[in-house]
Symmetry: C2
Subunit: 454 residues, 2 copies
């Protein structure tokens, strides 16, 4: 056993503070706008739905933000997560590259999502909130929030997109096992839900509708707040435990990546895993480091979108964010990586892409599943379709290293397992999986509906 | 962070040899009998279906059997598995007891099963076998064998009980992702399968039928062997990595259990986790150590069965084993813990129960799921219904410690996750879960069909 298969840090090494990349950015993103006034959002604009500490973190430019002990206590149920060396994948590809991955599938909900769910639940509990409302598409975020809320004795209400509610009962049951209250969205529980149902009783819902229901639930009830699973600064911040642990582990083994990649839906797992490394690029310590965000060809926000102000949600109720966007009314084709079907991306990540620190690449789902299959055959784990996007990028890089005879170091964030995505694997294995061309016309239409910013 | 949540050994600490409890037993079990001759089975009787090294291990009385380096290389994809301290469960129960558990759910197939699947695949590969045939009920073992076979470039053929094949497609897809070839059993692939189908085209199959198909497949093809997931000595042997790692971890933190429990289906995860501790009891080092095997009230082999010679399979083709049995024709009620629905138990385990070193307890499934729910609420993991049986025992013990004010140490083997058992959780949460009385009459009938041993 010459090469270690995995590096697992001590529990004491769970980071004591989150890293805020805004402290090191040469230029920070333009501020979010209040959708009512079109003016830069003030802290009090967020108060009806977020606890003050979350709002403070959202706007902070401090480099380090202390992780409360009570949050670290919960994180150690599964953290530090292992940093794996993918030796079997290297051997299969006959590459001289060294491939490492951080494995977030060890958390009880099975992904990186609880890293922020636990922190958000804690701050809400601290400020006397009794219940959290949120939306979920495929169910990863709803599971994580139910889990996090439960551990701090909060209730969780999850508006689950009707199509997923019907097709993915296991994710619903997981939430209910952790005491989450799950509504099929649109639901009769909110005014907006009732309105949608009245107009279209047979609708299968959308993430946009579910967000609107969750926000309404929070805004119209005392002691109820909203929790969000990606996009915003504080979510990216909480996910930096991934990158900080990875950096420590690399230090322990005396290695450092030349190439880093991850998948981008709203951008939080990617931001969390990469920002501590991006810092080294921004500050000139590692100017040659290459960092690539991987996204689906069906929803290629960073590779095809425009860098403009747009609504965060479909209904136009959420803050207006400066980001790469395909238009908030754009509905992507039904690919299996449900977590990557978002029209925009985290403003922090978008700014870093805009400024050239981070690159982007888009892939079709059949080549993505082919990569996931090879990963399962070599490293064992059956991973989420979202995570498989970066594995495709990793395989391409490793083969390039082979062709060029270069011993480069590749690192990626393996954000979750695919235990609830096996029907997608079945479609791939049986040859039923289809690719969708980039829907240029739909995007063009959607981009005509951006908010008018003067 | 005063108390560590988990102890994870170094990869170098993966055991270098398996522990064979036969070396320390005062009296070993009576030998298996050849079902054709009713005489003690000879090594050559097993040759048509097992590689010689497995047969040697099955009959060995050596205390330590070296784990090949190539097997340890694969085990380190997920081993050493963590030893968790269940601090949140302790706090919830307000018990002075210290509760520890070994978490086998971290393996890619999600249970302890690959510990032996990998070893069996390796020895078969070494001896030139090209394909392994096996049966699977709920799918845990079939997944593990597909995984293990793939890693040593063997093919795997899995006969999956028709009822499970129809109800649990995710397990089938998992096997196929790891290149397993899965047949709905009874299948047209074997003579026995065709016979059963001709007599009863609508049958939903049984584990007994699936075993018979797998054994026939192996016995009638060159370079094809059979692989078994529990019961036999070599399987219990391979699972001792669990107990050996646990002992090392306890040494590292300076603690030692007063009470150990685990679930028993065929007995391999229980044997593997406990035998290294049972050794201390047999040899007088820890005479007061209490060890309890947990089983379902619907299939209470150790608590209600008779200690007699019986067939290992339903069809009467497998070796006749001296064990506690409810009769090989007994079909237990359809509880959700499918892995615990076996009429017999591992002969080594049965002998230790018979000789008083190990105790047994039986539980109803609603109290078992209630325990699993409390575990999910405190420790986070949603565990397999099989594993939930010992959690029920653990909670009872912890509450006894509280009542008696005793700081005892409790250890259990948490054998796998319940990601594919969520419909059972749904039944529990919605109040649809039913308990079955012990089917005394069915057992009485089955015990009338034991083989006649003169």
């Amino acid at each position: 056993m010459s090469i270690k298969e995995k590096v697992i840090l001590d529990e004491e090494d769970i980071p004591k503070a989150w890293y805020n990349i805004q402290a090191d950015m040469k230029e920070i993103p333009e501020p979010p706008l209040n959708p009512m006034t079109m003016e830069p959002a003030k802290p009090e604009d967020f108060k009806p739905i977020f606890p003050m500490e979350i709002v403070r973190q959202e706007m902070s430019r401090d480099r380090w933000i202390t992780i409360p002990d009570a949050v670290r206590e919960v994180l150690r149920l599964w953290r530090p997560s292992p940093l794996f060396r993918a030796t079997r994948l290297e051997q299969k590809l006959k590459t001289p590259a060294r491939i490492y991955y951080k494995w977030e599938g060890v958390s009880p909900p099975g992904s990186h999502k609880p890293n922020t769910a636990v922190a958000q639940a804690y701050y809400n509990m601290q400020e006397g909130v009794e219940r959290l409302a949120t939306e979920t598409g495929a169910g990863q975020w709803g599971s994580a929030l139910s889990f996090g809320a439960m551990l701090f004795d909060l209730k969780a209400t999850v508006y689950m997109v009707a199509a997923s509610y019907d097709q993915k009962p296991y994710r619903r049951i997981m939430m209910e096992t952790w005491n989450g209250e799950v509504y099929r969205s649109p639901s009769k529980n909110t005014q907006y839900g009732r309105k949608v149902l009245a107009e279209n009783p047979d609708t299968t819902g959308s993430l946009g509708i579910a967000i609107s229901e969750a926000v309404e639930d929070a805004a119209t009830h005392d002691n109820v707040n909203y929790a969000i699973g990606s996009v915003l600064n504080h979510v990216c911040l909480h996910q930096t435990v991934i990158g900080l642990e990875a950096k420590q582990a690399f230090e322990q083994i005396g290695d450092y990546p030349d190439f880093i990649c991850g998948n981008v839906g709203g951008g939080s797992n990617f931001s969390g895993a990469t920002f501590p490394f991006v810092a080294d690029k921004i500050t000139g310590k590692k100017p040659d480091l290459r960092i690539v965000a991987c996204e689906p060809m069906s929803c290629p926000t960073l590779t095809k979108g425009l860098y403009l102000y747009d609504y965060g949600d479909t209904a136009g109720m959420a803050p207006i964010l400066k980001m790469y966007t395909l238009g908030h009314t754009f509905i992507p084709p039904p690919i299996h990586a449900g977590g990557l079907r978002y029209h925009g991306d985290a403003p922090l990540l978008c700014k870093l892409v805009k400024d050239g620190f981070i690159g982007a690449a888009a892939y079709h789902q059949t080549e993505v599943f082919k990569a996931a299959k090879l990963f399962a055959e070599t490293e064992g784990h059956i991973i989420a379709p979202e995570s498989a996007h970066e594995v495709k990028a990793v395989i391409d890089e490793a083969l390039r290293c082979k062709a060029e005879g270069k011993e480069e170091v590749i690192f990626f964030n393996n954000s979750g397992h695919g235990h609830f995505d096996l029907s997608a694997y079945d479609a791939f294995l049986s040859g039923r999986l289809v690719d969708y061309e980039y829907p240029a016309d739909l995007v063009k239409q959607a981009l005509e509906h951006l908010p008018k910013i003067t």
